[in-house]
Amino acid sequence: MTMLAQFAETASNSNVFTALGIDWQQLLFQIVGFVILVILMAKFVYPVLIKSVDERQSKIEEGLKAARDAEDNAVKVQAEIDAQLADARKTARDIVATAKEESDNMLAGANKKAKVQAERTIATAREEISKEVEAAKRGLESTVVELVADATTKVVEKTYSASDDQKVISAALKEAK
């Protein structure tokens, strides 16, 4: 209350600036100095600062752009890697499928070959057995025939009479007509 009363009293005795304690000269001097300071700052300091800020801004933007590019590249590379992996998987699947098919074919071929070989072996064995049986038959037959011929010779030598001979010759001559 005291201060407000003192201010009201001072204001009523002089102008407002005086009442506020402001010195016109000092204020003017400070304004001129501030303007000069602003001009100097605008002339020498701000350009440097702005340039520095711009450069920094530019670097940051370049960095961001590089980061974005790197990210894009990373995405592309990842896509390429994925594509290559997909190709590789497909190729691997194809190789596995081809290998399986080839192995199946080889197995089937081997089975077929083995079957043919087995059949051929069986046929050869049968043929050889047949030949051996035939040879044995021939041998046995030959032996039997030989025995029969020898026995016949002996029987004829002992029992074949002259009249039998004449009859046989006569029959042979009739048969030969």
């Binding site: 011929a149 010779t153 004829v156 002259a162 046989v168 010759i169 042979a172 001559l173 030969a176």
Partner: protein, 129 residues
């Protein structure tokens, strides 16, 4: 140069001469063959002469048997060979066991027991039978 006379002509001539009773033709034929270096054809000419005789009803036959052949069988042989006159050269061979073997210039008949046993022993007897 003398023309070469065929075997058939020589045989026909020799046969005619022999039928006519000219036995000297044998010597003439032998001389001709020697002179013309055709001795190696002798067997063929003799065979041809035998065939000529066969056509005229005179058959020369070699008869081989284990026992002597009876006259009845000889007549049967002549009939079989179609011979009006049979000139038989008989041989006895006990190894034949039985039966008879006949051989003329154009025919051969082996009806011996030995031959039949040989056929029996032969591996290819089935084909022969």
């Amino acid at each position: 140069m003398a023309t070469k006379i065929s075997r058939a002509k020589l045989a026909r001539y020799a046969t005619e001469q022999l039928v006519d009773g000219n036995d000297n033709v044998i010597q003439e034929l032998a001389a001709y063959l020697i002179e013309n270096r055709r001795v190696d054809e002798l067997d063929l000419i003799v065979r041809e002469i035998s065939e000529q005789f066969e056509r005229r009803g005179v058959v020369a036959v070699d008869i081989v048997s284990a026992r002597p052949i009876e006259a009845e069988l000889r007549a049967q042989i002549a009939k079989l060979l179609g011979a009006e006159k049979l000139e038989a050269n008989e041989t006895i061979d006990a190894k034949l066991l039985g039966g008879v073997k006949l051989e003329t210039a154009s025919r051969r008949l082996d009806a011996t027991v030995a031959h039949r046993l040989e056929i029996l022993r032969s591996p290819s007897r089935l084909k022969e039978v």
